[in-house]
């Protein structure tokens, strides 16, 4: 059997997804035996020009991580879509926007002003901002345009499969890689993860969920045996797809939802708001108000990893699409 041609690329991400490929440890040798890496900036030297020179659909599988934040990310998504038979949204940023999509709570101008003018470590008396084109004595330099909004990969191009997780877990990465090597191709749109909720695989003892008080993780000594949500901590477990094995909850850290919404759920954050509403142990409006006011940052918590992929896609403002 000829070797598969595999590519991996990062758009707006941290590189953690690329490292997660290496977390399959010695199985990387099986991958190397079955596939040639034709493009992977993290670990190999081929350039964008080399990808452009490939025939259409020459790449068998492309793992695309990172959200679409700027013009370059979009161009690379389109290029790799054209050159790949199978394009996989790899990691939470590509699947749902991930952490970079928290920027959708702000405008492009607010972000640029903070980063290049007002942040404590910045001195920029001339208020120079990045430009898509700049003249230097020797010629012209170009930079990709910074968008006003962060997008998921599938809001830009067609995607075959999804591997969520921040970062994806090694077992799932290997299962996906092995399925593709063996030619056991799942139906389009398949998500390589669990089909149930994170709660379903979390080993903590669950009793009755009744919330009288919402607490911050820094305010409680957690009982490791018991459900974190029942102890008053906001835990995204009930509304998050399983598959990670409860990596965070095992360490008594409440889930932040990096595996995205559960099967059939359209909006992870809205579902969390509904979940909280259904377990608040009060019918007194004043008391309910007092309880929910203790949720410090609903948008940034309920949509920690999925803002770009949510129904609202970000903060809505008058005059901003």
């Amino acid at each position: 059997m000829p070797k598969l041609k595999v590519a991996a690329y990062w758009a707006a991400d941290c590189g953690g997804c690329g490292v997660a490929v290496l977390d399959i440890n010695e199985k990387i040798l099986d991958l190397a035996a079955a596939a040639d890496i034709v493009f992977w900036p993290l670990a190999a030297d081929p350039k964008v020009e080399d990808v452009k020179a490939m025939a259409d659909k020459e790449i068998d599988v492309c793992l695309f991580s990172g959200a679409i934040r700027n013009e370059e990310n979009e161009e690379m998504a389109e290029l790799l879509r054209k050159k790949s038979k199978i394009l996989i949204a790899y990691g939470s940023c590509a699947c749902f926007g991930g952490i970079p999509a928290l920027a959708n709570l702000f405008t492009r101008e607010e972000i640029l002003d903070k980063v290049y003018n007002t942040s404590e470590s910045t001195s920029n008396p001339a208020h120079v901002l990045p430009m898509t084109s700049a003249s230097v004595p020797e010629g012209e330099l170009t930079l990709p345009a910074f968008y006003n909004h962060v997008y998921t990969l599938d809001q830009i191009v067609d995607v075959e499969y999804y591997i969520p997780g921040c970062a994806p877990v090694p077992e799932i990465v290997w299962n996906a890689v092995k399925a593709l090597i063996d030619g056991a191709v799942p139906p389009k749109g398949a998500i390589f993860a669990g089909t149930k909720t994170l709660c379903d695989e979390c080993l903590k003892v669950k009793e009755e969920k009744k919330l009288k008080e919402i607490k911050r993780p820094i305010e409680v000594m957690v009982d490791s045996e018991k459900c974190l949500l029942e102890q008053g901590l906001i835990c995204m477990g009930p509304v998050t797809r399983g598959g990670c094995g409860g990596r965070c909850t095992k360490m008594d850290m409440p889930c932040r939802g990096c595996f995205g919404p559960t099967e059939g759920s359209l909006d992870q954050g809205a579902k969390m708001a509904g979940t909280i509403a259904s377990i608040i142990d009060s019918t007194d409006e004043v008391e309910v108000e007092k309880i929910i006011k203790r949720i410090m940052d609903p948008a940034g918590t309920f949509y920690r990893f999925t803002l770009a992929g949510s129904m609202l896609r970000g903060k809505r403002r008058e005059g901003v699409s």
Partner: protein, 63 residues
Amino acid sequence: MRKITIDPITRLEGHGKIAIFLDDEGNVANSYVQIPELRGFEKFCEGRPVEEIVRIVPRICGV
């Protein structure tokens, strides 16, 4: 002036490209390293509870 572009810089975390300008003799006249990437952690960490920051900023670099 001839321009050589190396895009992307590889085997590192992050996005970078290099523009090298050559003079008429083919020697390097000047070169520029550019970072085309920005996500804006400086801004979008604002409004997040302090105990959550330690779960957000590890995503600046995951290598």
